[in-house]
């Protein structure tokens, strides 16, 4: 098996496992469909934006939950944003934590919120690492002159 085929197989295996384990959902496939010759870096661009945005949101959430008098509306606003962007790129597990997180905000349940913040952080870091690996493989395939397999 030549280098390109090997890389392609690795890519397919990695991507398939991400979908199977629920890290990614169909929305990520939608993103890939939007990538074309006129915009070959679309997925990388969006995913990078997501990483930057998420890190900001996680910091804001940590700060908001450390206040003496917590503004749960503000916390909820941040979680709403996080839920939106994770949903839009297909980061399913992050989105699911956000759903639970919002319920705790509604209840003004600090312990619940803190647990969710930790979970959101963990899920975010996991999906970030996996996406970076996936996009890295994609880069290698393209550099080796191959085409990126589409996972349906």
């Amino acid at each position: 098996m030549d280098a390109v085929s090997q890389l392609q197989r690795q890519f397919v295996e990695h991507a398939t496992s991400l979908y199977r384990e629920g890290y990614l959902d169909d929305q990520f496939t939608q993103l890939q469909k939007l990538q074309d010759e006129s915009n070959p870096d679309f997925v990388v661009e969006v995913v990078t934006l997501f990483f930057e945005d998420s890190e900001k949101l996680l910091n804001n959430l940590a700060t908001a939950l450390q206040q003496e008098s917590i503004d749960y509306k503000q916390v909820d606003a941040h979680v709403h944003q996080f839920k939106g962007s994770s949903s839009s790129i297909g980061a399913q597990r992050v989105k699911n934590v956000c759903v639970v997180f919002r319920n705790y905000c509604d209840e003004k349940n600090l312990d619940g919120c803190l647990v969710c913040l930790q979970q959101a952080k963990n899920e975010y870091l996991l999906v970030r690492n996996k996406l970076e690996a996936l996009l890295n493989l994609e880069q290698q395939i393209l550099q080796a002159g191959g085409s990126v397999p589409m996972i349906t």
Binding site: Q30, L34, G84, S85, S87, S88
Partner: protein, 146 residues
């Protein structure tokens, strides 16, 4: 047979969303569906672009002098909601016939009805898919040939 697009044939869409990732996504979805896109990050900016902000002179051609064929806006935005933006657009004699589409990540029947009753063309659930936007684009072609 290839279709040649002239300036006037390409629908110009104003997309409003406070979420950066969603803005980028809706812009790409619309461009992939052969639309020209202008984005705004909130209701106020959208109104400014449309020439509807208070104290702005109302004219048929807004902002940069380019007509808008459709407005697609998120519902939940800080400051001015998508619903409030819809209201302002429908109150304008110049812009009331521009189709407005509302997007939301939340499927709340009251919210949907409220928007449709106010004159929204469509209510779309996020995250948007390419097929949703292509369908919308198809409708737009019909609009512009009226």
């Amino acid at each position: 047979m290839s279709i040649e697009y002239h300036e006037e044939d390409v629908p110009h869409v104003l997309a409003v969303d406070d979420n950066l990732i969603d803005r980028k996504l809706v812009e790409k979805l619309l461009k992939t569906s052969s639309c020209r896109v202008t984005t705004a990050e909130n209701g106020l900016r959208a109104l400014e672009y449309l020439g509807l902000k208070e104290n702005q002179q109302q004219n048929h051609f807004n902002g940069k002098g380019t007509k808008v064929n459709m407005i697609i806006t998120d519902y939940c935005m800080p400051g001015m909601t998508g619903y409030e933006l819809l209201q302002k657009i429908k109150e304008s004699s110049v812009l009331k016939d521009v189709p407005v589409v509302i997007m939301s990540s939340e499927n709340i029947p009251n919210r949907i009805n409220e928007c449709l009753e106010k004159g929204a063309e469509r209510f779309m659930l996020k995250p948007l898919k390419l097929s949703d936007v292509l369908k919308l684009r198809h409708q737009l072609i019909k609009c512009s040939t009226l």
